[in-house]
Symmetry: D2
Subunit: 133 residues, 4 copies
Amino acid sequence: MRLLRAHISRLERGLVEISASNRPELSQQDGFVHAGVMATLADNAAGYASLSLLPPGSRVLAVEFKLSFIRPAVGQAIRARGKIRKLGKTIALCEIEVETRRHGKWVSCAWGSETVYCDILKSQEGVKIARLD
Amino acid sequence: MRLLRAHISRLERGLVEISASNRPELSQQDGFVHAGVMATLADNAAGYASLSLLPPGSRVLAVEFKLSFIRPAVGQAIRARGKIRKLGKTIALCEIEVETRRHGKWVSCAWGSETVYCDILKSQEGVKIARLD
Amino acid sequence: MRLLRAHISRLERGLVEISASNRPELSQQDGFVHAGVMATLADNAAGYASLSLLPPGSRVLAVEFKLSFIRPAVGQAIRARGKIRKLGKTIALCEIEVETRRHGKWVSCAWGSETVYCDILKSQEGVKIARLD
Amino acid sequence: MRLLRAHISRLERGLVEISASNRPELSQQDGFVHAGVMATLADNAAGYASLSLLPPGSRVLAVEFKLSFIRPAVGQAIRARGKIRKLGKTIALCEIEVETRRHGKWVSCAWGSETVYCDILKSQEGVKIARLD
């Protein structure tokens, strides 16, 4: 996060957005934001989105992620969103999306999913997992 | 690549490895190399592995990638390998793997695949695509 | 489709649903609809959703698909939906979802994506691809 | 398995192959074996490959799978192979591949991965999980 100078720009139960300004160092040979940078932001967003539903002290670990690249990622700013679609007993499925801002408008550049393993801290009063549905 | 201080450590037709020293900035909260860093290196390796089979001047673009995380990525060094499994007329399928070196031994930490779109430069003498099989 | 006794139950530009009655032959060892049956229906829905945006005579081919299994697929009926998220010059990205009906309510059981290669028939008057956005 | 008339043709610790004869009912519009049929066989192979390493009475469930289609699946016979790459405490990662036989030779048509959730039966003498490495 520090290397990319990113910060959490939206935080709800089961939904987290992470934003960063675009910089030349984040781009690949064609001037587009590097796929790996998008993956890094998306993975962070997925992890925090999972944590937002778990009791304090819980930990998360990415099992796998998949990202499809829809459009060249150009623009002044970039943001990634993680949205939990299903939280099970140990596994969360998170939808991930990356957008860039061009001429004041956010445009989707990458979209996919992440499977997150949730190591849920069980408090003495029992597990308190936020319910999604 | 510069941000991660990575370099190409192996280059064959259809197989490329990219290596970097591990540094605290590349790690997430638990001291493991960040999933996004592994994805960045793997995506680069997949792109170069594709280019290694195409005529000079061709360009590549990631369509999608998927990475499964097998073990915590700890160690002094990290490397990612892209190996082309199939090169079609416009699409290449690349196997990707990320390893870290612990106590002098390389251990697999992440494994998956990347679909690469190949914008092949057609020379006047016709396309010269390296044959894989 | 015939083997699964499935039919198209919804057809819009960029969105197709395929439905079937559940039968014992479609289930695996635990009585849930088999993952492969869900994949078959989802793949069909993705293909038709792509075709719904292309000129007549075009052909589609799955490049890859990924499906995450969210809940056990039990119920009297099953349906799969393909929804195009992006149609490029040769590649479409389709969101896929599979639901089962339990006690009169549709419940999401699997969710993922499919990359579709579109072999677009170019008519004499030029390509007429439906615009999504 | 019965609907596809498939049978286990190879069974080792961590590696299972499932085979079937090709039939017109298994094909899609172009005469190729349907992507969903390949997915069904591959998913079965992945499940059995996982079970082959677990104590009797254990159960497995697909978390997600991803399959890339490499070549048109034509031929007299089809087989799918699941090979475990990593078996963790609750999650197995399985490499999956589907081949068809043409003119007496097996040709790879689809390749990918499956994440399998392992509900391991703990016997009174403690868990006995086969070690892969």
